[in-house]
Symmetry: C2
Subunit: 280 residues, 2 copies
């Protein structure tokens, strides 16, 4: 057994010993085989765990072998003390999980922009997944320049007054600093009529992060479902991502079964890996 495998097994047992949901970890005698490295890197978008205690969220990520998280504030509030930050980040580190971004963070005032960038700096991430109001974009650009922290603006579908589709982000930031880009939510984008694969090609240099999900149908009010069960053409998406040599994270955001998301996360992770593997 490699030291990494041993390490992961040990940390899983430590988590079990701390008393949370035992079914999430494997029996001691079964070990752990990490998935093979994907040519596209997977992650989890933090909202996936909005009804899940953090230790369980960590165990779920270990179970499906995904080691990068875009953290949401319910695991690490924006006003966290240095001690709280160290405690939370320490748990992820111990579990072999990289907190690679923070968000989605909404910004409606300059003070909220300041707070978001201060938070990102304090927790040590170099990317904010955020939604600044239009008039705050120049101020956010200043913060990007002074902090060297990237801002990935998130599109939220036809109901979103600011950024329904990736083009609504791109058109407003295309002439701004190159460190302002998109967290392209392919589900919300598709609901707003944007073809995910074509959008990846079209907005390539500005796509920093992805929220990956499937949807049952396009349009308003449709919901996200397990990857592979819906209308999004994942082989086309993965081909596009490979074509642009996407080096960011493909972070799965699973929004069903919020109190029991692990089976849906696992199916989604499996499907995406199956597509990536087939196109490798």
């Amino acid at each position: 057994m490699s030291s990494r495998r041993k390490f992961l097994r040990t940390s899983a047992l430590t988590l079990t010993a701390s008393g949370f949901y035992p079914l999430l970890t494997r029996a001691n005698d079964q070990g752990f085989v990490a998935p093979q490295p994907d040519s596209l890197q997977l992650g989890i978008a933090g909202y996936t765990f909005h009804n899940i205690p953090m230790d369980q969220g960590i165990a779920m990520m270990q179970r499906v072998g995904v080691s990068a998280l875009s953290i949401k504030d319910f695991y690490l509030p924006l006003d966290s003390s240095p001690e709280k930050i160290e405690e939370v980040l320490g748990k992820f580190r111990a579990a072999g999980i990289q907190v690679y971004a923070a968000g989605v963070i909404y910004m409606k005032t300059e003070g909220e922009v300041d707070r978001a960038f201060d938070y990102a700096k304090k927790i040590g991430v170099n990317m904010i997944v955020g939604v600044p109001d239009y008039e705050l974009l120049p101020y956010a650009e200043q913060k990007v320049k002074s902090s060297n922290i990237r801002l990935a603006i998130h599109n939220h579908g036809p109901e979103d007054k600011l950024y329904p589709a990736p083009k609504d982000v791109f058109d407003r930031i295309r002439n701004m600093d190159g460190r302002i880009g998109l967290c392209f939510d392919i589900g919300h984008g598709a609901r707003a009529g944007a073809d995910p694969a074509r959008s990846v090609i079209e907005f390539a240099p500005r796509i920093f992060d992805l929220h990956v999900k499937d949807i049952s149908a396009a349009g308003t009010g449709e919901r996200a479902i397990e990857i592979g069960r819906g209308i999004i053409d994942f082989p086309a998406l993965v081909r596009a991502l490979k074509k642009i040599k996407f080096a960011g994270r493909c972070s799965i955001e699973f929004e069903m079964d919020t109190k029991d998301p692990l089976p849906g996360i696992a199916e989604s992770v499996g499907f995406f890996r199956g597509v990536v593997k087939t196109l490798a």
Copy 2:
């Protein structure tokens, strides 16, 4: 919502009401979107559930949207009464699951061959996944002819004294009735040195059923793991299955986490579907 979707949701709620593990079913307001039909048909090999009560096994199949089961005797013993058979099959029917085969059934005497074929007839399946001793093959062939029930002989890896690899089945049945063939266990076959994709091509007309799994390495004593994490080349396997126009079931047999297999089943189902979708 289609009537099938409504039906599945209703049956899931019925199961919840009967009191078993509530996390296996979805919350009422989340509905159910069945996976799209695959060009290769998925199933579950019954051994997957050997530590799982039947109602939970049914709920797990519904959760991952797989609707065919090769039933194992711990859910329906070989000496079951007609009432017991109707009770068990009724539960699967109500859940939208087809019991398409029975096995693995070992046969070491003519009496055990008789019992296996009587059982298959009584429970209404037209295929036995079985392991008859060599000297019983002619007797089993007679039973196949008289019953018109197919016999798919299962290979069980390097430790198996009778049928380690698919070739060990094929060489003994190639001149027998065309209704005797293979349940090709790709994991055990690969452990015995058989390349799964090449074996599919080589033994094509006699491959009736598949046990689909991944393995961490070839050889004796290696174990089955989540599909996609191991050494089996699934894109090559699926290409081979499509090339021979395989019309049987690709039944996932997940052998880890036997008291909590759902996440691994879901990941495996997702990966396989992702490969199939990409090669569609």
